[in-house]
Symmetry: D5
Subunit: 167 residues, 10 copies
């Protein structure tokens, strides 16, 4: 049986009701089950064999679930498989519609601010290292880690994206 | 004497003239010298003992130069030290004004898109790992690496920011 | 009886519930029937004798159905003809209201980006070839093809629009 | 010696002065030479061995010139090679900044309108044919043709982009 | 009894359900009756003794109905007079809230584009003919005609507005 | 010799200097000559054999001049022909960039307001008269007249555009 | 018993249903009672001993009702006092959320236009008369009068606001 | 000789240099002369026989000067008449372009806020008094007065506009 | 038993119904109980042992409740503890989504205006006092006091935020 | 003679050249002199007998200088008095035009974020303490302090504004 709560001792993440109109109809169902069983994304991600961020993206309708994902979700969230299959989870996601830009929430704004302030610096470094092209946001994976030292806690976010050369 | 060009064989990054009105007056001078001496940010960053991205951020007016930075820049770019000191380089930067948001350039847009699409996923994971708070965009460092495998080249971007708990 | 699923083996396209408020009332009914019968746009388009993109545009309320379209849709989707006739399908479409601009979804953003980046290049080439005027977006057809070579899959999109000379 | 004028008999495309502040400094120089020698993009593109649209994109600062491009441009436009090399032509382009969005010019607006109105239709068809992913706007080529029938002239625009599967 | 359908053989105009939240509550009732009885605006306008455009404006909540208008509407639409009187039809209209600007629908966008492109030309001509002032959009009437010649159909729209001199 | 001033006794229209950055470089030259010779658009339009509005649109860079237009302009404005030929007058116009939208000037705002308020009414009437399609803003002409009755002066603006059927 | 209708013979002002989501919940109740009893704001304002505009502002949730206002409203509108007390009428108003800016309705737009066009003129005159500071929009009263002369009807709007000196 | 300074003892209003690009070229010249001679708008307005606000509007390019205005301005500002006649002062004003909306300056924002908050209240009162129509912002005059009582200074602004009935 | 009403004699703050769609589902429940028991934030804040502003922020979904907060809220508001625990109160807040920016309400606009007008002044002073960095809006507390002197009442708002040095 | 540098040991604040077009012409002159003499705002403010923030606001054109301020500035900055008097320093400031909103610089954004997130909390507390009204941003003073404890440095910002009751 899946571990209850988070390994950090923090409460689990749940869904703010005022966000629902911008999400696919699968989102409230998934978050409801997550809340009822008190499961962290870490725990669910392990059951899915996916990274935590990818798992959370699935809940927010930003990624497509495979048939295996559906089976694993059904098991860990105790939602019947055909109920999950009737949702938009395995469909093609319509991405990018749940976030106001610029972001209002301070946590997400800080990520936005990094792009705003260092965008040209990244462009210059990437161009010098790779030439003219882009880092894919699609052939892409990401990971979040927690590091602790004497100064306190540090967030480490990694992005890894395929480089595509411009025509 | 500093190595000419980039280690990747790509041309060096230079400054698009139409960006100048949005930059501090130090920017065109620095980029002009960089171009004349054909120096990569990798080379300049080594001379400064700073990360490449931080070094490029300095050129774009997004970071503050220390007196050591000025000396090192003077030496490697062959600009007289007092000329550099007369610029805004060691002043307090007025950040964030050089980028249109949403970004227009495809490379920078892809970074923006990651925040737009995965913003809530990051928030959920960070909240579960750290509680209520933010990852600082100020007590923050970042690094870019190039990885190559049989599928081609991959960009790896790392963010490391201090976690601050909300009141 | 119509073939089930897509010829590519991919799942069929369905409707994200959060998009419904921006669509005519015919859209959820059509997509519901499509989903229930597991029909691809390729299959439905053949039944209608229309191009796939035009067929999908009909579902999204961006094109007007003829009486023949209604009969064919009734037959393949197994919706009574008078039910379809009571909808807005054969009415004059109020186009362009289902998409946020700039588009949020990465797939659609890439199309937008091509117009943003190459807009003036297209204008210059079209002016030199045709003179002062426009390519019609109304007297217009479009087609999507899939091409595969050793590098992988390629999308080929064709636009064909009438040229109209400016006064 | 290069052919003067366009093969269509239309005047050649030139640069509107009010657009200059949004372009790299190479643009006015290139357009000036093009105008002085009365060269079409068709003619210049042949000299470069590139597609017309790519050639125009080069003029508008939306693509990067190779050393061969510089040599060919130098020859056909009769601009000294080192003059061209001193511009931003072979540098990394900062794309997407010359166009107001939504576009104001009727010709470019029509292209934008197609994306606005048919964006979801393209998404549905591409998803059904290729799965979850995007058509690249970077690993991408495009071509413009003129077709004439009894109804008049028709523009045919082709896009060909690599398909990239989402993670 | 009122003629069914349009004199042009085209279907009648109906109301897109997704527009209802931006309209007064009278609009869906009027359009429903119009659809049920299959009446064109031409037919209804004749019954009202008003111009077609003014009649359609009444349906969209952009004009105020007189008591005579209510009686005529009651008769031709077969809606009880007191039902109509209970709506906002004879109230003071809150104009201009049903249209997104810039307009999304191609037909309405073309009208907007004329104002965008020729606004200063109209201003110059009107100033030279009338002096400093404005053409009223309130003391104003408009009319639409269809003209057909060997090139096809032409729309002729006339605006007639009172000139008011500036202070 | 061309008549001085307007037939209405009003001053002639001239160019506001703050508008110049949004216009092609031909505009200030044309308006300067018009002012120096005190010519109305009515007079210039007669010399060109064009409608007044089309003539003013030429001055504002919203239309393309033919070789005949250049000759006539040269004669009436007393500008050497090759000076005119060196401008953007006979080039392909980059339309729509001189007007802020929504318009600020009251005269132009009133035209915009008519589209905002009656846009859907026009769409309904045009659809019922012509079917699904658009009135062209390109295959288009327009005319302004002055009518006077006991109530005062009235502006009559006529638009005549080709109808194009949607696909 | 309160006089029915307006003294001008015009219909009374009522509430457009599409505005309700932007108003406090008291607004529809008040307007419903006003409509049922056919009362003008002039009549209600007299019962309240307030200016007409202040009275209308109360209905639109832009002002706070005193206990006396509630009693007077209860009496003239025949709504039980405790029903009124259960609404937001006597609460602190959350002002400014019912109007789109720029205003869409022509009547309100004209007021906005005066501020847009003469804002700097007012600032200059007020600064010369009063020094550096502002006219309060809070310690403020306003009044509307009708004047009629041989040219027709004139609106006279008066604003009276306290002057506050800047620090 | 004209009185120096204001009657209130406040400094005279002058022109902020950063506003110049949004003004006609006459504005800096007029304000320069006003400053040099230390004249208030009250004094200049008396010389012109115009209201102070109208006089300031003339300086900001929001109103058209008559030939008499030019003569009076010439005399009081000691600018040669033909210098004034060479400016845009007697031309048709291109109104509304000098103010950012929403206004940034606190004094002008307060005026904007009144329209934002009481817009619907004004509309309701005006409709009940005058019927469906608008108060003209063109056939319009305005006046500013200073009132002082024991609470301090009060601004009294009056608007007087012609009422025009809607069609 | 908690004191009824405010210590100032003013009515208590309640929730405007039109704001509900932008708030978490806990907000209407909390405000309903506050209103029913007629409790001020001062009183509730004392029961929570929190500052008033922090307490109000909790009600508006801008802060996270601890388990102790929930118990105290349950007691003073007489809402069962598990009812509170089922809401989003103890979850991670999704901040910043309840306020339109720029703010419409005059009281909140004044706070915004201070940042708009004095933003650079604060930046300069903070940089001179602390160096390059930011005042945290997260490691942050705030307090509101009322001061009265012979001129009337004064608001005193204090912000106290941790200083974080930029990298 | 005035103390050189800041008391904190930080560099002094200077002016970013890209901000100049949004500032009155006095700003570059003042900052130039401040930089040349290496004066902090603390030092200048003491010479003026004003708060530091008010002093910085003067430099950024957000406050009006008195004749005493001019004398003191002349003395400490060693700028001739009549040079200062020829600038806009003692004129009426046109406030609020130097800051992009939302602010881009992280330091100023944090202040904005506090208003965005806690705006309604402040409104509720102020209404309960003072009734319906506003805190003035004009009859207003502000002060910045530095506090240091074992956790590091803290910024303390105080606002003090007059309360004005709504009508």
């Amino acid at each position: 049986m899946a571990a209850s709560g988070t390994s950090s001792g923090q409460p689990i993440a749940t869904l703010d009701a005022s966000l629902v109109p911008n999400l696919p109809s699968s989102a409230p169902m998934l978050f409801e089950a997550k809340k009822k069983k008190n499961l962290s994304f870490e725990t669910i991600a392990q059951a899915l064999g996916r990274d935590e961020v990818a798992c959370a993206a699935l809940f927010y309708g930003q990624a497509q679930a495979s048939q295996d994902d559906l089976k694993n979700l059904s098991q860990i969230l105790e939602i019947p498989l055909d109920t999950l299959q009737a949702t938009e989870l395995a469909h093609f996601p319509d991405r990018g519609r749940n976030m106001q830009m610029p972001p209002r929430d301070p946590l997400v704004y800080r990520l936005y601010e990094i792009v705003q302030n260092y965008g040209y610096a990244y462009k210059a470094i990437l161009n010098e290292k790779f030439g003219d092209g882009i880092m894919s946001a699609i052939s892409f994976s990401t990971h979040v880690e927690k590091e602790t030292d004497e100064k306190g806690d540090w967030v480490k976010i990694t992005w890894r994206g395929k480089w595509y050369v411009a025509w």
